[in-house]
Amino acid sequence: MTIWLVIAGMAAVTYAERASFLLLPPGLDTPSWMRRALRYVPAAVLTAIWAPELLLQNQVLHLSLGNERLLAGAVAIGVAWRWRVTSLTIAAGLLALHLFDWMT
């Protein structure tokens, strides 16, 4: 029984967050300071999503040449920088991970 309540509650809070600003009346202007701040949301949040996958191992910072994910991520960043093609970035990163994995 509880599980259905939990699902309903999760759905409600998640949709409320997604809808929050989008469903405000169209006439409301976004203040200019907020516009400036919002420009940085994609770069900040997207980085916060992938950075731990590269930098942490079992919740601990792992900065060394023995960290294959960090190295493969660096390769992917380079490929993304140069070509800006998502599929190429993913392929290069996976290939690099397997290569570094095999080397160590």
Binding site: M10, R18, Y40, V41, P42, A44, L46, G93, L94
Partner: protein, 195 residues
């Protein structure tokens, strides 16, 4: 999720109406530990806090659309849809077909996501871990992030967010993600002023 004790039907329903992966995995873990229902819902609220920021930034592009369309846009929001859409809008700020672009990203991603969840529920973990396919997710997010890093302030925002999320990784409820967003925005604004 099913592996941690959620009935298959409930898992599928959760995927359809919550549609937010991180909070679904977290709730499965919390429920397996007999966490009270209210706490699971509060955890979801924090984990999905970033959607409020997505909502505010999508509003800049879609505020003029009819209410129904905005309701749909709100539902289809996801990290990758947001990343792709905003990257496109940064390059083409006056694109007359922003809604079409958003739906073109959001609808296929929604379908693929639901199918993947269904397959996961039915067959369970089928891909050997040695393929490292789980690493494709961060790589895809790297591909979405890099095009934004064209100016100093954006790089500062990304570096600050990355450092904060890692420094705060021990915090509960994925609070480090919210803090990272705040740190990133602050760093971006600071470097913008000096430039």
């Amino acid at each position: 999720m099913v592996a941690s004790g959620i009935p298959p039907l409930a898992a599928m329903l959760m995927s359809l109406i919550v549609f937010a992966g991180a909070s679904m995995v977290a709730s499965a873990q919390l429920l397996a530990q007999d966490t009270p229902a209210l706490l699971v819902i509060v955890a979801t609220l924090f984990i999905n806090m970033r959607f409020m920021m997505y909502s505010a930034s999508l509003r800049l592009h879609f505020a003029a659309l009819p209410f129904r369309w905005r309701m749909l846009i709100a539902y289809l929001q996801a990290d990758n849809v947001y990343g792709m859409t905003l990257a496109r809008f940064a390059d083409h700020p006056d694109d007359p077909h922003k809604l079409e672009y958003f739906l073109g990203a959001g609808v296929p991603i929604w379908v693929a996501w639901q199918l993947a969840v269904l397959v996961g529920i039915v067959i369970g973990a089928g891909v050997p871990p040695s393929w490292h396919l789980e690493f494709a997710a961060p790589l895809a997010f790297i591909a979405m992030t890099v095009p934004f890093l064209r100016e100093r302030a954006m790089v500062a925002a990304a570096l600050a967010a990355g450092a904060t999320v890692v420094a705060g990784s021990a915090l509960p409820l994925r609070l480090n993600l919210v803090l990272a967003a705040a740190a990133g925005i602050t760093a971006g604004l600071l470097f913008e002023k000096k430039a």
